[in-house]
């Protein structure tokens, strides 16, 4: 979905937002392509919601500019911007029926009543709630309410759809179902969409591109696979997915030493002697059919096993690593095959291509 040469639909330039002394956004610049689904991902307080609200004009940036569809909207009030918005709280008008909720925006732009009715039916059809159209919001489930909120936001066909933690108030099953539905609807509507979330799984499954934020700055922008496979900073590596971090020192170009073990890896031209973190994801640690052709083979012992349903998270340590330990995710079948139990000594490989190095801060 990421078209490198397309004209950006939304251009955000040097946005800074201060609340008194506190700087919520620091010099944020980013381009969003038409029809793209972008997620702002980060821990609470990282500035992602502020950024969304600034784009909507609900908060106003201290510095910086926003250009939407070639038009400078930097200082426009929200009512003069072109967006639809869905909140975590749904914010459905409780005293209006579902139909009337969806119709509000259409009536405001002066659409004649028969056309409004037609459009409302069409939208409710899309979100699968036609049979609920005469009910009041309080009579619907959370997931249904959120779909109404989505239909309401899309009614006036906005150029930009903003989703502020839309799934966070729902329980796990409904959440994962709605993920797909929202993504499907976004494709059908072909609307440029920004979603704010603190849930990395949500971001990874839904987004065309993810913007990872922390402390008011952008840590990394990229496709979900990029963010997961090649996190640019230690923060991203730590925040997205699970990661083992092992303290190490660069011993030569291409090798780093953890305890007594020398690991081959891409040391990114860091000078010899630098203190670094060696990072590897638990699921990349390999224990099946280790041969001498595997890289970074380590003799190690099982210290602890945590059963997590479809797989086991195994704490490994001792052996070559001495008092350093790391977590590895082994599938149930592998656990069975190797008869993994506490105290078992085994060989694992830390594939050098999957190891990433971060400077210790």
């Amino acid at each position: 979905m990421h078209h490198e040469n397309a004209q950006p639909y939304l251009q955000i330039r040097n946005l800074t937002k201060k609340f008194g002394e506190f700087i919520a956004l620091k010099d944020i610049s980013i381009d969003i392509i038409e029809n793209e689904f972008v997620c702002f991902l980060g821990p609470s307080g990282c500035g992602k919601t502020t950024l969304l609200r600034v784009i909507a004009g609900l908060d106003i940036q201290t510095y910086g500019s926003i250009i939407q569809a070639g038009k400078d909207i930097s200082s426009l009030p929200p009512s003069e911007r072109d967006f639809g918005i869905v909140f975590q709280s749904y914010a459905l008008f409780p005293n209006l029926t579902i139909t009337r909720n969806v119709a509000v925006g259409l009536e405001n732009v002066g659409m004649p009543a028969p056309k409004v009715q037609h459009r409302v039916d069409e939208l409710l059809e899309l979100v699968g709630l036609v049979d609920q159209k005469d009910k009041y919001p309080a009579q619907l489930s959370g997931g249904q309410q959120q779909r109404v909120a989505l239909a309401r936001a899309m009614a006036i066909s906005p150029g930009l759809l903003l989703l502020d933690e839309p799934l966070s108030a729902l329980d796990a099953k409904v959440r994962s179902r709605l993920r797909h539905e929202i993504k499907e609807l976004q494709r059908k509507f072909a609307v440029t969409t920004i979603m704010v979330t603190h849930d990395q799984e949500e971001a990874l499954t839904m987004a065309d591109r993810i913007v990872v934020m922390d402390n008011g700055i952008i840590e990394q922008v990229g496709k979900p696979e990029e963010i997961y496979r090649s996190p640019k900073t230690k923060f991203v590596a730590d925040f997205v997915g699970t990661m083992n971090f092992l303290s190490a020192t660069i011993v030569s170009n291409g090798t780093a030493k953890v305890g007594d073990v020398v690991l081959t890896c891409d040391t990114e031209d860091l000078p010899v002697g630098s203190s670094v973190m060696v990072a590897i994801r638990p699921e990349e640690i390999n224990a099946r059919n280790i041969t001498n052709s595997d890289s970074n083979i380590v003799q190690i012992e099982v210290l602890h096993i945590e059963f997590l349903g479809s797989f086991c998270r195994v704490k490994l340590g001792g052996g070559d690593l001495k008092d350093v330990s790391l977590r590895a995710d082994f599938s149930i079948s592998l656990t069975r095959l190797l008869s993994i139990k506490v105290g078992l000594k085994l060989k694992v490989s830390l594939p050098s291509k999957l190891i990433r190095i971060y400077l210790t801060d």
Binding site: N14, G64, S75, S79, P94, N108, V109, I156
Partner: protein, 565 residues
């Protein structure tokens, strides 16, 4: 940081047409408030620094006031009696409220209804009843053991009677907001009942008690009706203002007394606001409401206590009702409706009753619209936070201003021939304005609370859907807040029916009010007729309360579909 921040100017959001319209509306209501409260108070303050000829004489009037023992004494009296009344009320209402919120005492609904009764009558009614019970020809005169009811005893009793519901509402609220989890934790830790009471109950409603204390103190301190009827020769500040202004036509000294009355009220009010802000911080979103358990001994004790208090309240209103219906106390006790023949005496008349009804309807209608709309503009406006804060601050002032001070300030301000608003003087208009202003703060706070409970994102969604603000106000905000709007209008109606303090300076022969008629009848010794008129007010207020209950029930019933889960 790639750009040079120095070269970038701060972005200011443009205001939409709605933003501007809302600001203009808010400024208009703000101007109304400024004219209705700030300017009159300012005029009164400057009057207190002038001599009779209108020349500026600095604080000479105050020096005179504080060096005249008879005047100064009434300040002492007011403080003393208010303090005594406050202590009695806090004790009584705390137990009463505790019984209603923290026990399984039977007949709670009955005790709740009885407790409302004093709200439905002018404060004078208690005084009138006390005269019948303990006056020179009183039924129970012997209980006072030779002491006279006309004086401090009567003032304290009458004040405690009419302030009771005000104190009760605050303390009930304070006792209702405790987290049940704290009690479960106390039980789990094997804390004794008494220790739990002092460790959990008292701290959790501490601020409510303090707040109730201040509110009660201000109410007694500034009340005019009770001391006027039952005070006898005992001087209080509120009656002093009346005497200085109406009796001696000494407006400057009246202004001085009003300022002396105003200052403790403002101090108490400020402390109360400060305390209330702390109370809010105590509430956590995850608190679980407390469900009292059965406790035979406690429930029975509480039932006896509440029955006794309810008995006293019924005695007060019952005596007024009885007095209104008999021929000539205590010599001819046969029943009659003659006392309702108000047109027989000067200064009363049925017209005053209908004036009161008109005043109450106007105040309720106009007042609730202005106040709710004003609160909406403050709460939901975008930007212009300076103006919104100023508006909110002005809206807080009326609560701190005693009615007597407000009424006097209105004389100074509106009776000035150079004031273009002078035409209002002596009309129903000025009564409506003064009554709306007098009761502005509580209504404003009710509206603000209701508005704050709405999802703040409604406004964001409305903006994204390009809904004009008056449309979302009319279609969404007002319907959702309708119960609060009804509460406000009934609050205004009841107060307009029963108030005397501000309007006593402002009525004319054409706009005499029922509550004023009660005063005048009492002044002329027509106590039975005063009781009858006070009861007319009570019937009306009672009727409106019932209508309100039915109306609210219907609205909730109609909207139940969208309110219920």
């Amino acid at each position: 940081m790639t750009t040079n921040i120095k070269n970038i100017s701060i972005v200011k959001q443009k205001s939409s047409r709605d933003d501007l319209t809302m600001r203009v509306c808010m400024i208009l209501i703000g101007l109304f408030l400024a004219i209705a409260i700030l300017l009159p108070l300012y005029t009164m303050l400057s009057k207190s620094l002038e001599n009779k000829e209108g020349a500026f004489i600095g604080i000479s009037n105050y020096v005179e006031y504080f060096s005249t023992p008879s005047l100064f004494l009434s300040a002492y009296n007011s403080i003393l009696l208010s303090a005594i009344g406050t202590i009695i009320l806090l004790l009584v209402t705390f137990i009463y409220a505790y019984a209603l919120t923290r026990t399984q005492m039977p007949f709670k609904w009955f005790f709740k209804i009885i407790a409302i009764i004093p709200l439905l009558t002018p404060s004078m009614l208690g005084g009138i009843s006390l005269v019948y019970w303990f006056g020179n020809q009183g039924v129970a005169k012997g209980l006072l053991m030779g002491e006279s009811i006309y004086g401090p005893i009567g003032i304290v009793m009458g004040s405690v009677y009419w302030v009771f519901p005000h104190a009760l509402m605050i303390i009930i609220t304070a006792l209702s907001i405790t987290d049940a989890r704290l009690y479960e934790a106390a039980v789990a830790l094997r804390t004794s009942k008494i220790k739990t009471f002092f460790m959990v109950t008292i701290p959790s409603c501490k601020f409510g008690l303090i707040s109730a204390g201040f509110v009660v103190f201000i109410l007694i301190f500034t009340d005019f009706g009770v001391p006027k009827v039952i005070g006898g020769m005992y001087n209080m500040l509120a009656t002093d203002i009346y005497k200085q202004v109406i009796g001696q036509q000494n407006f400057q000294m009246g202004a001085v007394v009003a300022v002396v009355l105003l200052i403790p009220a403002i101090i108490a009010f400020s402390v109360d606001r400060f305390v209330q802000r702390k109370q809010v911080a105590l509430l956590s979103a995850s608190a679980v409401p407390y469900e009292p358990k059965k406790n035979k001994g406690l429930d029975l004790t509480m039932l006896m206590f509440c029955s006794f208090i309810a008995f006293l309240i019924i005695c007060m209103i019952g005596m007024a009702q009885y007095a209104a219906l008999i021929k000539f106390w205590p010599y001819n006790l046969s029943f009659t409706l003659d006392n309702f023949n108000f047109d027989l005496i000067e200064g009363g008349g049925w017209s005053s009753y209908f004036n009161s009804i008109r005043l109450s309807i106007y105040t309720a209608l106009i007042g609730s619209i202005i106040i709710f709309f004003g609160a909406y503009l403050v709460e939901k406006g975008r930007g212009f936070s300076f103006g919104r804060n100023v508006f909110h601050a002005i809206a807080m002032i009326p609560l701190a201003v005693p009615g007597m001070a407000l009424g006097l300030a209105y004389i100074f301000f509106f009776n000035n021939p150079n004031n273009p608003l002078n035409f209002l003087y002596g009309t129903m208009g000025i009564l409506v304005i003064s009554t709306i202003t007098h009761f502005y703060t509580v209504s404003h706070l009710t509206a603000t609370t209701a508005l704050k409970q709405m999802d703040p994102e409604f406004e964001s969604v409305s903006a994204s859907l390009k809904t004009p603000f008056f449309r979302s106000f009319q279609k969404i905000t007002a319907p959702i807040c309708m119960p609060a709007i009804l509460d406000i209008s009934v609050y205004l109606f009841l107060n307009a029916m029963t108030t005397v303090s501000a309007v006593v300076f402002l009525y004319s022969t054409n706009t005499r009010l029922a509550s004023i008629a009660v005063l005048n009848m009492d002044d002329q010794g027509e106590l039975a007729m005063a009781a009858a008129m006070a009861m007319m007010i009570a019937y009306t207020c009672g009727g409106v309360r019932i209508l309100h209950a039915i109306g609210t029930h219907n609205i909730l019933g109609k909207t139940q579909r969208w309110r219920s889960k």
